[in-house]
């Protein structure tokens, strides 16, 4: 058997939905900035596009309209109030005659303390004490975070006053310090906000520093410069070695005759004439197998007759590469047949060439 709905049922459902919407759908946020100002913001956007009205009162009152609305795109999205100490705020938000929200709360529940200022760091052997002026309310926690230039993460330490001592720090390292204030749950509840972080302070050996990043940068740069220097050194050595080869290519060194004329210096004390006498049967220079092609024997062979002899035309003969012979022939006996050495003179055969030597002649290498 079906039952018909009473005529007032739809109206009741409508009213109920309206009431539920009034009580629960209005999203808002409250922030108490250091008991100085209170900011109430809301997300509700009435379909009609009308601006909402914010009524408030501290302690028991609730009839003043917001003196400073926060606007976004020309629409009211919040209200900024001057706080009246640690007390209760009553407020209501209206869309025309419809009350969207009505609340009464302690503004301390939504405290956001101000950031610590005037942070000071005191070194005492291996302990550091970080201090700052306390805020004038109880139930706050002062959290200090610190890290050295070699640490990746901040390390926390908290006390109920802004006098936090940190042990076992290395004074030689550069440390960074920062602090903030949080409200204890037992005194303020769980809907508070932590303060912003204070300015970061850097210190090393008890002295303030602009930054601790220089230390890391310094060690990195030392490494980089060291590697670069090593690389340059290697390049330099390589260049020098290459230059030596090039130098040898362009300017072959004068070969040591010691290697070419075996026994010249050891047995004959550099006296080539004596050496020649002993080795007269040699008709060509011995080639040294381990000599480089560019080590060509550059020799100067000069034969000078004595000055009392008559001047004769000078004949210059081109010998093997590097072997130059300048010879002045004496007048000698006109009856001598060409090709035959004059009397009293020796013939020197060297490198395929024949030289006529007199007593006044000498060979210079």
């Amino acid at each position: 058997m079906t039952r018909a709905l009473p005529p007032w049922a739809p109206a009741a459902v409508f009213l109920l939905a309206h009431l539920i919407g009034a009580g629960g759908a209005f999203e808002h946020q409250i922030i108490n900035f250091n008991f100085e100002t209170v900011q109430v913001t809301w997300d509700a956007s009435p379909p009609s596009g009308t601006n909402l009205t914010f009524l408030y009162g501290f302690k028991e009152k609730n009839d003043s309209e917001c003196p400073n609305y926060l606007l976004q795109n020309g629409r009211r999205v919040g209200c900024l109030l001057v706080a009246e100490g640690d007390t209760i705020l009553n407020f209501s938000v209206w869309n025309g005659t419809q009350c969207l929200k009505n609340r009464s709360l302690w503004i301390s529940d939504y405290l956001k303390p101000s950031s610590p200022r005037g942070l000071r760091v005191l070194w005492r052997e291996e302990a550091v004490t970080v201090t700052c002026p306390d805020l004038p309310w109880k139930g706050l926690l002062y959290e200090v975070q610190y890290k050295s230039s070699f640490d990746g993460e901040w390390q926390p330490k908290a006390e109920s006053t802004c006098n936090v001592t940190i042990q076992d720090l290395d004074a030689e390292k550069c440390y960074s310090f920062r602090a903030r204030v949080t409200a204890m749950k037992s005194s303020y509840g769980s809907t508070t906000y932590p303060s912003d972080w204070s300015e970061v302070i850097h210190q090393q050996r008890g002295q303030p520093r602009d930054s601790c990043q220089e230390e890391r940068v310094f060690s990195k740069s030392v490494l980089i410069y060291g590697l670069a220097a090593l690389l340059l050194l290697l390049l330099l050595v390589l260049c020098v070695w290459k230059l030596q080869r090039v130098k040898r290519l362009l300017m072959p060194s004068v070969p040591d005759p010691k290697a070419t004329f075996a026994g010249l210096f050891e047995s004959h004390h550099g006296n080539f004439q004596e050496w020649i006498k002993d080795t007269q049967n040699l008709t060509h220079l011995q080639k040294v197998e381990d000599r480089e092609p560019e080590d060509v024997l550059m020799e100067g062979l000069e034969v000078q007759p004595s000055k009392v002899e008559a001047e004769t035309p000078v004949t210059t003969m081109a010998g093997p590469p590097g072997l130059q012979t300048v010879e002045k022939e004496t007048s000698g006996t006109p009856s001598q047949l060409p090709g035959r050495p004059p009397q009293g003179e020796e013939v020197l055969a060297l490198g395929g060439f024949r030289f006529t030597m007199s007593d006044n002649s000498y060979v210079m290498l």
Partner: protein, 136 residues
């Protein structure tokens, strides 16, 4: 008749002597709230309407809300009431427990009384008063 008159006078004197909570050891009460009483008090939407100005004022209102039932909320959890009383008795000279004679009556009423949700407004106010006490 004389006997009952003396009892009445003594109770009245007891009420007067403990009405202001000015000589209490507030630090001890703070520690008791932190370690014991706060565990009995929780709220989600902690709206509050009751204020207090100083520590004796806060304790006066806390004591009244906790130990004296109001219309719509017959009683709070028994542990909360007894722990609050014990704290006040321990820390406030001249404070005497007032609820011994009513304990049996409260237990009987508890079977018929409202659930804790209906007393949430009182709990919110209590939490607000206790936190205010902790900040002073």
């Amino acid at each position: 008749m004389v006997f009952f008159r003396k009892i009445f006078i003594l109770q009245l004197v007891g009420l007067v002597l403990t009405s202001n909570f000015t000589d209490c050891d507030f630090e001890k009460i703070r520690m008791d709230y932190l370690n014991i009483i706060s565990k009995d008090l929780t709220c989600t939407d902690c709206d509050a309407t009751l204020r207090c100005e100083d520590q004796p004022d806060c304790l006066t209102k806390i004591e009244r809300l906790t130990l004296h039932p109001t219309p719509g909320c017959k009683s709070l959890p028994e542990e909360l009431a007894s722990r609050t009383e014990a704290t006040l008795e321990r820390s406030c000279p001249g404070y005497y427990r007032k609820q011994k004679n009513n304990a049996q009556a409260m237990k009987k009423r508890k079977k018929r009384e409202d659930t804790i949700k209906r007393c949430q407004k009182i709990v919110s106010n209590l939490i607000g008063l206790w936190r205010r006490f902790m900040r002073l």
